[in-house]
Structures are given as structure tokens and as C-alpha cells.
Symmetry: C2
Subunit: 683 residues, 2 copies
């Protein structure tokens, strides 16, 4: 049954050799990899303004300058990453740069940071999308969490289906969004230059003073608040590393095209961010964390009834005076691009998880592809984690933002540090003077980038630690510790299990086989188990029962003799009415007497069709099996007896298995060889 559902939801399986690997032209690659970076323009200005608004109206006028600082960092990071994509075009991204140059622990640090950040990308983008959606569709107001969870579920499903980035489909939202917000910006700037820019609707409100900020941006507290606004705004830098991981998907010359895309992303994001902040100040847009109490109308709070639109929406309404659908239109394009941005994480997270699993840092399941070729386990894990975040933080962008950006700047800084080492290594061996000059220039850029991103990282940590950043840091530490533990486990097991080809132990066979058939009543499953055990002709064969009730034992013994089965029946005494311990003790005594013997324990098992039937059978068998597994030199052989009720389940399973898919079992990678008779050839 679950299989039928799966097919309906996800479609038919996809063959391994049909994996499409279309290379992307720039006009398509840009939307695919840039949507994350560009989409942050949809919430970064809002966060800058609302942080500054804590210190009053005058403080918000600083916002364009904060935006400028963000853009300066952005330009630096993009310049640095242009070096990265050229030096590491394989798509490993920051994880590869750090691993190669800073060693496994460096790589793992970056990986932890990136994993946490991918989760936050989804959570923040979807939460912001829900806010935009609610601003366009009033019916959604108050249901943002549900809306966000539905979007995440949809993204999980879509990615499990393994929809390939079909260029056009993904390009449209980005171009629509850039077009809509860009037009707002350009028309707004023209109207400002011509002196016809009107005030925003919210300009009529005053801001309520917030305790400890009554004096505005004064002293250390004021500086701290500006830094906090900057830290929030630097969320606009997230998504840049997505381009560096995407290099292999670009057309040749891959690295150059990726670098150009990076520049484009920087230009577009920077322009949009600065214009929005500038126009927001020019039109007097008010944007605060809690409008009901922070916005004052004639000295009194506006109350719960007031609806605060996002900054871009307010701008669109002001700029396109008399066009009532301008703001909803911008909101719809914002929702689309934010969903697209969340989708970027659904590309990045599973791939990173798969690389980590390949390297032994994560469970192997993250490396296996599902039957639609998607890295299903990674997709589901990301979806679940993001949904939990959205639910816990009530889909509030403002609450989630402090957790964000830390991971980004950890990985920025680590990768810049890695690049410095990279250039130092290459400079040691490079003879060509021009090439050395180019490398020195690149090194200077990465060095400057390192300085700046480290500074920003410190600012972000200091200003936001108590606002929730500790959650993100804790998550990174947990991820790091977890991955180290998993790797240590796999390493230890690998050493333990390595086969020494030349050791004689590899070829030693047990001297004899001692077979035991466990029997409780004389019914068909037991008879079948005895027959199967006899068929394998063990050196010693005996049926064993545990004597809990003397009457039952007598009845079994009588039945046994009546049936005339040519196998002796041994009764183990169990004065404490246990089933498992007497059997274990008996097996142990056999092992002790003849340690080189192989003991095979045949257990008749019922196979039932309904889960509740399982409660009525097999309880002792399950416990016994789990304990026998701990004994060396013992094989546990389940001899199933399929109850009639299991026939329907079996038939359904066979029907589903038998669906005609190309390349089924009988077409092997090897030419089909018949089973080889071993009788007498061996031993």
C-alpha cells in the first residue's frame, strides 16, 4: 500500500543511466543559482529598518548607510568568490576549499556551518514568503505558519520527484521579481529626481520610544544597534556560495561564466538593496517589529487592526500612485522568488550531505539516491528540520534572522582562509612571473575578504548572540560533534572488518554443523522447519523445546512420537518460565564443548498479514533472535510459515514488484551464469 501512495506522489522510478545532465547557459544558470542571493533583498531592508526603528525615527535615516556597508561587504565577498570558482571549479564549494587547504576538521567546520545555514535558508525564505503572501492575500493573515509548512511540504515532494531545474520555469520568477522591484526602484528614483515622489502611507505614523533607546542612536548602545542592523542586513549575502557550488552545471568556460554570474548577482542585489533603502527613507516608510504598539497615530498606538505591508510593497504603492495592484504584484513575485530560494537549499543540502556521507561523516543513507534519482534522505531531513524551525519560531523572519548569517560568515571566513593557504602553496611552486603576479593579486583579494568577513562574523556573533544566535552556534557544534563521531565509528568498523587476504583464517571452515530446531507445539511450521533443517544435512540435528508447563511438554512429546519424526526432541528445563535464557544457555554449552562447530538455530516463524496479528505471534522468537545474534559462531535461520492472511499482502507486493520496468533482474551487469554446483568440489 505505501508503495502505491509513493508512486502516486512521486511518479515512476527513474533509471540510473537516464540522469539528465543538461548544462546551463548563463541566462538560465543565473536564476537557478542566484535566486537565493537576490531573494534576500525581499527581507534584508525590512530587517535593517525595523532594527534601527527601535531607536526612533531619526535613527531609521541611517538605514541607507547601513545598506551601503552591506553592499561593500558583498562586493568584497563576490570578488573573493570569483577567485574561488576559478581555483575550485569542481562544485565542492566552500567545503572542498576548506577540506583541501585546512584539513578535514576545517572542512567539517564549514560543512557544519553550511548544513545549519541551508536549514535556515529554507526557514527564513519560506517565512518571508508567507509574510508576502499574507500581505497580498488577507485571508492568509494569522495562518502564516500553516502556509509556510505547506510550502515546505510541497518543496520536499517536488524535490523527491526529482524535478530537474528546467531553466525557463525557474528563470521566470527571478526575472519577474527583478523586473518588478527594479521597475519600482527606477521609477521611484526618477520621481525622486523630478521631485514628484509622494510620501508612503505609513509616513503619517510616529514611532513609540522603546525603553533604553529613548535618546536615539546615542553612545555605545547606539553604535551597537547600528551594528545589529548591519548584522541583520548582511543576510543579503547569503546565497553567494550557492553559485560557487554550482560551477559544474555551467556551460564552458564554466569558471568564467560562474564568475560573471557572481558579478551579475552582486550588481543586481546591490542596486536593489540600496535603492529600496534610499527610497524607503525618501518616502518615509515606517517598518517596525510590532506595529500594534510601536506605531503611534496622534500619540496613541495603532493597535492590532493595523496591517503592516513589507517595505517593498509600501514603496510600490507609493511609487505607482493610483495603481492599487502594484503592491500585490510585487508581493506575488516576491513569494515566487522566495520559494525558489528555499528550493536552492533543497539542491545544496542533499548534495553536501551526500558528499559528507561519501567521506564517512554522515550515515551512508544520505549518499544513496531514491528511485527518482533524488537524494531522498537528505531532502526529507532538510524538510523536517526547516519545518520544525518554522513551527518553533512561529514563521517569524525577525526571530529567525539572528540565527541566520552566522553559518554563512563562518564558511566565508574559513574558505577565504583556505584560499590564502591555497595561493601560498601555489606561489611556492609557480615559476611564471605573470602568473605569480596574478596569484598575488588574488591572494590580496582573498586576504582582504578574510579580514572583512571575519570582522562581520564577530559583529554578527556579538550583536546577536543573545537574540538567538546561540541556537545556530549550538546546532553547528552538535553537527560537528555528531559527524566526528560517525566518522570515528565508520573508521573503527572499517579497520575491524578489513579482510586480510593471506590470513588462513579467511578460508577456514567450521568443522561441523550442529543444527537445532526450536519447537513449541507440533504444528506445520515446526514440521517444515525440521524438514528444512534435515535438507541441509547437518552433522548433528535435534529439535529443542523449552519446558515451561509440564502438561504442554508431555503433550508435545506424545505428538512427536506419534508423528514419528526422525529427529530427537530435547526438552530444556525452565523453572523460571523463561524461553530465551534456557535456549541461550544450551547454545552456549554446545559452543563450549565444541568451539569449532557452527551452530545453526532454526526458528519457525509466523508470517502474518496484519500488524495486529503480529502481536499474537512470534513475541518470543523476536526476542530470542535478537539475543542469539550476539553469540559468535551461531547462525539464526528463520523458517517462515506464511499464514493464509499473509497471502493478500504477498500478492500485492508481488504485483507491485512485477511491474514491467526496463532492465529488470534477469538482465545482469554480468552475463547470466547458471548457479554453479558445488557438491563435492569444496572442502
Amino acid at each position: 500500500m505505501p508503495d502505491v501512495f509513493k508512486r502516486l506522489l512521486l511518479g515512476r522510478p527513474v533509471r540510473s543511466d537516464r540522469r539528465p545532465r543538461a548544462l546551463l547557459p548563463k541566462r538560465v544558470a543565473m536564476p537557478v543559482f542566484a535566486s537565493d542571493a537576490v531573494s534576500s533583498v525581499a527581507y534584508a531592508p525590512d530587517e535593517i529598518i525595523l532594527t534601527l526603528a527601535l531607536a526612533g525615527l531619526v535613527a531609521t535615516t541611517v538605514s541607507p548607510w547601513v545598506g551601503l556597508a552591506v553592499v561593500v561587504v558583498m562586493v568584497t565577498v563576490i570578488a573573493s568568490y570569483r577567485q574561488n570558482v576559478r581555483a575550485y571549479p569542481s562544485g565542492g564549494g566552500n567545503y572542498e576549499v576548506a577540506s583541501v587547504n585546512l584539513g578535514p576538521r576545517g572542512g567539517l567546520t564549514v560543512a557544519s556551518a553550511l548544513l545549519v545555514d541551508y536549514v535556515l535558508t529554507v526557514a527564513v525564505a519560506v517565512a518571508a514568503g508567507a509574510q508576502y503572501a499574507a500581505s497580498a492575500i488577507p485571508g492568509l493573515r494569522g495562518n502564516e505558519v500553516a502556509f509556510a509548512l505547506v510550502i515546505i511540504a510541497g518543496l520536499v515532494l517536488m524535490n523527491l520527484r526529482g524535478v530537474r531545474e528546467s531553466g525557463v520555469l525557474f528563470a521566470i520568477p527571478l526575472y519577474l521579481y527583478v523586473g518588478a522591484v527594479g521597475l519600482t526602484a527606477v521609477v521611484g528614483l526618477v520621481r525622486w529626481a523630478t521631485g514628484t515622489l509622494p510620501q508612503a502611507a505609513s509616513a503619517q505614523y510616529d514611532l513609540a520610544p522603546v525603553p533604553s533607546y529613548e535618546q536615539g542612536l546615542i553612545g555605545a548602545l547606539g553604535v551597537f544597534l547600528v551594528l545589529r542592523a548591519f548584522a541583520s542586513g548582511s543576510a543579503a549575502l547569503t546565497g553567494i556560495e550557492a553559485v560557487s557550488s554550482g560551477v559544474p552545471a555551467f556551460r564552458e568556460p564554466k569558471a568564467r561564466n560562474a564568475a560573471t554570474t557572481l558579478t551579475l548577482v552582486g550588481v543586481v542585489s546591490g542596486f536593489l538593496l540600496l535603492s529600496i533603502l534610499f527610497l524607503a527613507r525618501a518616502t518615509g516608510v515606517r517598518f517596525v517589529d510590532d506595529p500594534a504598539t510601536q506605531l503611534l497615530h496622534d500619540g496613541a498606538p495603532v493597535g492590532e487592526a493595523y496591517v503592516q505591508d513589507p517595505v517593498v510593497g509600501q514603496l510600490a504603492t507609493a511609487v505607482f500612485t493610483g495603481v492599487p495592484w502594484a503592491a500585490p504584484l510585487v508581493a506575488v513575485t516576491a513569494v515566487l522568488i522566495l520559494v525558489l530560494a528555499a528550493n536552492t537549499a533543497f539542491n545544496g543540502f542533499p548534495v553536501l550531505g551526500s558528499i559528507l556521507a561519501r567521506d564517512g561523516w554522515m550515515p551512508r543513507q544520505l549518499h544513496t539516491r531514491g528511485d527518482r534519482m533524488a537524494l531522498s534522505n537528505g531532502i526529507v531531513a532538510l524538510g523536517v528540520a526547516a519545518a520544525m524551525l518554522v513551527w518553533v519560531f512561529d514563521a517569524s523572519v525577525t526571530a529567525l534572522i539572528p540565527l541566520y548569517t552566522i553559518g554563512v560568515f563562518v564558511s566565508f571566513s574559513m574558505s577565504q582562509l583556505g584560499m590564502l593557504r591555497h595561493w601560498a602553496r601555489h606561489l611556492r611552486t609557480e615559476p611564471d612571473a605573470r602568473e605569480r603576479a596574478r596569484m598575488r593579486r588574488s591572494r590580496a583579494i582573498n586576504g582582504f575578504g578574510l579580514g572583512l568577513t571575519t570582522t562581520v562574523l564577530v559583529v554578527v556573533v556579538v550583536t546577536k548572540l543573545t537574540h538567538g544566535a546561540w541556537v545556530a552556534i549550538l546546532a553547528m557544534v552538535v553537527a560537528f560533534v555528531l559527524m566526528t563521531g560517525i566518522r570515528r565509528h565508520y573508521d573503527r568498523v572499517g579497520v575491524e572488518l578489513a579482510v586480510d587476504v593471506d590470513a588462513p583464517a579467511t578460508r577456514a571452515l567450521p568443522s561441523r554443523v550442529h543444527a537445532i530446531v526450536l519447537v513449541s507445539h507440533l504444528h506445520l511450521p515446526a514440521v517444515r522447519a525440521v524438514a528444512y533443517a534435515r535438507a541441509s544435512r547437518p552433522s548433528v540435528l535435534e529439535a529443542v523445546t523449552v519446558g515451561v508447563d509440564a502438561d504442554d511438554v508431555a503433550a508435545l512429546r506424545a505428538d512427536w512420537e506419534r508423528t514419528g519424526l526422525p529427529v530427537p526432541l530435547k526438552v530444556l528445563d525452565s523453572p523460571y518460565r523463561e524461553i530465551v535464557r534456557p535456549v541461550l544457555g544450551y547454545v552456549r554449552s554446545i559452543r563450549r564443548e565444541s568451539p569449532r562447530d557452527l551452530v545453526v538455530v532454526y526458528i519457525p516463524e509466523y508470517v502474518v498479514g496484519h500488524w495486529w496479528e503480529a502481536l499474537l505471534h512470534n513475541q518470543s522468537a523476536i526476542r530470542l533472535k535478537s539475543r542469539l545474534l550476539f553469540m559468535p559462531g551461531v547462525i539464526v535461520a528463520s523458517v517462515p510459515w506464511q499464514l493464509d492472511s499473509s497471502a493478500r499482502t504477498r500478492a500485492l507486493a508481488e504485483h507491485l514488484d512485477a511491474r514491467p520496468l526496463p532492465g529488470d533482474v534477469r538482465r545482469g551487469l554480468t552475463p547470466p551464469q547458471g548457479p554453479t554446483p558445488l557438491q563435492g568440489a569444496d572442502r
Copy 2:
């Protein structure tokens, strides 16, 4: 680890042959089996008074008459049960009477009713105990639910330990309670006769009129309310059937002693119930459901601060004027006997469950005794069910009472009906005239009992259906349907599995054994699995791997050749990256080609020491095993590889298993026989 906890909590296991079977003299048997019946005096009067109090002060003066009606029913039921215990002294109780005389469905109806009622006995007794405890210890007020749950947990633990009813320990609370309440009654009656009985403290309050009862006990509504009070009061009859199930534990003459005990129970309960109700009226005790709003002081509600003691407590305070510890003392003895009453259900429920399991109506697990000889599964089931009831109904006796008594009267009526059939059957064959006269008299008593209990059942159902009785009825129906389903399942399986001794199929052996070793990498578990498979010398042996990744397959093939294992390696193609389906398909193809072959699938398995390690291994193996079990003619052989991390778990388990208990494995019920070599003897 769980085993160590278990030992600490429950003590050392008890040998089957050490089951104590002490027979009880009357003075001990009475407390053991009578506590349930006598303890209901602790809450039945309160429920009668508070129900009548809905119709105002005048209505409560009817309460002794309602009590008298209850006592009349009680006398009838006890007279009837004196017939039951003589006719069916084997301890099967109502279930046996109904099964024998009314057929399995009749027995099952009684069993359903009794199971539900046992759960309610625990819930009601413990809830009432919590109320008494709170009246003695003010700190418990508001924590009644927690107190009740702790008591239930304690009872579960005590019964899992299997504390035998040590007479004296169980006799003390009953004699204390009967002594305390009896003394209150006698002194109260003497003071009433001498005209020195004071008014109760609560007599000063007036009762607030309740909507639709402003006129008192007028018309149909009034009659209905009196009937409802009677239905609540008939909770005093619960526990009588406990004596009838306890007959085998009495000393000879068992039946007569049990009958005498029944009479004693009736006399004591009846006297206490009537005196309490009479004295409560005489002293003007006020007892209402919600004192905060229903009690009026000078016309205004007394509010939340008022603490309402149980009726017996109020009586003790009034009767023993100037003795402040009289009420707390009565409360403490009430708590003790109520806990003892709940304990009765812990004796009855598991035994009934065990009998039902023996007859195939319940899962077999209810029939197995734990290592302390207790019917552990039944005890835990009862505890969990009662705890849930207490939790859902907030430990409120008034809320639980409507659910109670229905089951009791269903089983009363069914067993009386059964007795009528019993006498009819015996009268048909009995020649002796004196004996026939005795039987006719007994039949008349049972007939009268049937009429009365059926009437009460109708009254109870009609007056309480909407007050929660539907929950109990629903639970009985669910239990009935469930048990019928389980029996049908066991019956069907029994037919399916019956061995036809003479059928040749019983002795047919599979013609050849086709062994498959599943391999993913060439590491030690796989090498061991191959060696073990070779040791069992199958007709055909091949190693099989599923080719998901071409590079992995090539590496495995190279390793395989390098190691020189004398077993061919077959690669199953898996274009859809599945592990399970290709293997199933291959096994199916072998079965199709040679249906008489036995296929043994050897699966190397990791045995890990920590639960989280299990997440990193074996995931495919588990799914594969569960699917292979559905295939006829296939044995699944797990070849465990014990990882080093499992050594500690194994060592601990072996240490616990190896504890020196008498009668361990090597002392068999059978004289020890060495394993019999079968080599060549067979086939």
C-alpha cells in the same frame, strides 16, 4: 541494563514449583475478598446524598430509603451468590457460570463486563482513596490525580513482585476500617437514641437550587433523580463477585465458608451503609457535587475556600465531639481499605485474562507468568487502563461512578440467568425429592435475583447513559468484538497449522538446497557468511551482490578475485538503485525454475552495541529480511558479525544470564541426552 532495574524493582525470579498455595481461614479470607465490597461503603453514601442534593435539602432526607433499596438488592444478590458458590466452587466465577450455561457468547459477554469493571474498580477505589487522603492531609488537595497515579503504580509494582496475600497484612486495614466506621455508627446511634447527637458542622449551610430541580422531588423528574441516586448507590454491590471467584482459596468446606463470608459481607456492608445514611440525615450533613457554588452561607455561595470532607468524616467529627483526630483516623482507614479494594482487582483481572487467554479469547501473553510467578502482562494492562481512566476523569469519583456498576449488573444478571438454566438442567435428571426441593428453592432465589438485578441494570443504564455510562458500554462492546476477533484468528490458524500425521507431505524433504550469500563489500562479515554457507554444503552456492554503482561493483569483483574465494560472485543489475527488489526477483526466479528446491539466503549482519550504531548499519538487511519472509520455500539465515562495540553489551547479558539459579539449563525435565549424530542416517 533493564534487567538490573527489573531485579531491583521486582526481586529475584521465583521457581515454578515454589508457587505457594496457602488456603485461607475465614477470618483472613474475608478481608482478602471482602475489602472490595465493604470499601464501597466509603463512597456509595456520598454519591447517594450528592445526587439527591440536586433537588434541595428536603430531597436529601430520602437518602436512607434509597440506601434501604440498595440493601434489599444487596441481600437478594448475596442470597443468589450463595447458590453460585455452592454450584460452581472452582473459582471460575460469573464467567464460568455463564460459559457453561449460556454458551461461549454468554461467557464472553460476562467477561467483557468484568474486564471493564475491574478497570473501574481500580479507578474508582483509588480516586476515592485520593479524596480521603486529601481530607486527612491538606497538602494533597489539588494533587489527587498524581496521588492516585502513584498508588496505581505502587499496586502494579507490588503485584508484579507477586506479593502473596499475606493474611494478617491484608486483614488489618479491613478490621481497622470496619472498626472505625462501625464505632462511629454505634456511638452515633446510641447518641441519637439518647437525644445527645449534635448537628454536623455543615448543617449550618443551605443548598443552592439547581435549575430544573427548584421544586424538589416533584413529578417524573423527581422519580428519575431518586432512581439515579439509587443507581449511584448500587455501587455498594460491586465486589460481591470477587468472593465467588475466590472459592478455591478458602479452607474446606470451601463453598460453605465462602457462602458464610458472603453473608458476613452483606451484614457488615448493609449495616454500615444504612447507619451512615441515617446518621447523615440525623446530623444534617451536607454533601454536594460542587460545594463552592452549591452550598450557601447566609444566602451567598461559600466559594472555593470551603473544604468538604467525606460524609463519614463529617459524621465522625460530629459523633465524637471534641475529638479532632476522629475524622482523620477514619479517613486513613478508608484510604487503606480502598487501596486494598483496588488490589482485589489486581488479583481478579489477570486471572480472568489468563483464563480468557487459555480459552483463546485473549493474546497468549496474558496466560504466561512472569519470572516472579505473577501474571505480569495482565497486571500491567490493568494498571495502564486504570491510570488512563483516572487521568482522563481527573480522579473524580462522581464522574467515574456512572461508568461503574453497569458491568457488575450485566454480570449479575447473566450469571443469574445461567443459574436458572443450571437448575433446569439438573432438575431434569435429579431423582431425589428432597434434593429437587432444594434445587427448586435455589432456582426461585436465582430467579428473583435475576428479576431484581435486571431491573437495576435497566435503571442504571437509563439514568446514567448520558452521564458517561455509554463509555463503559462502548468499552464492553469493544472488548467483546476484540476477543471474538482474537479467538477467530487463533481458531483459523489452529486449523491451518494442524499436522496431518499420515500425510506424506509431513515427511517430504526439499530435493536440493540452493544457498545464496548476499554481499555488498568484501569485508569480514561477508567472508564469514561465505564460510558458514560452505560449511553447510548446499547443492548450489553462490555469492550475490546488487549492482547499484558500477565502480563499487568493479571494486568488489576485483577484491573477490584477489581473495580467491571458491564461490562464484553474481551481480544483480539494479537500474533503479534498489537493493530489495532485485534480490527478491532473483530468489523468485530460482523458485520458479526449481520449485522443489529449498533456497537459503545468508545475510551478513552487523551486531552493534549502541542503538545509534544500528542507524548506521543493516538498514537494507532488515527490509530485505522482512520481505523474504513472505516467500514460501525460503529460509533467511542471519550470519551475525559482532562488532567490538557489542562486546560490552554481550558481556553484561552473559553476566546476568549466568547468575547461579537453581535448576538451570543442564538440569532437564528429560534425562540429558547427547546430541544425536544424523550423518548418513537420514534421507
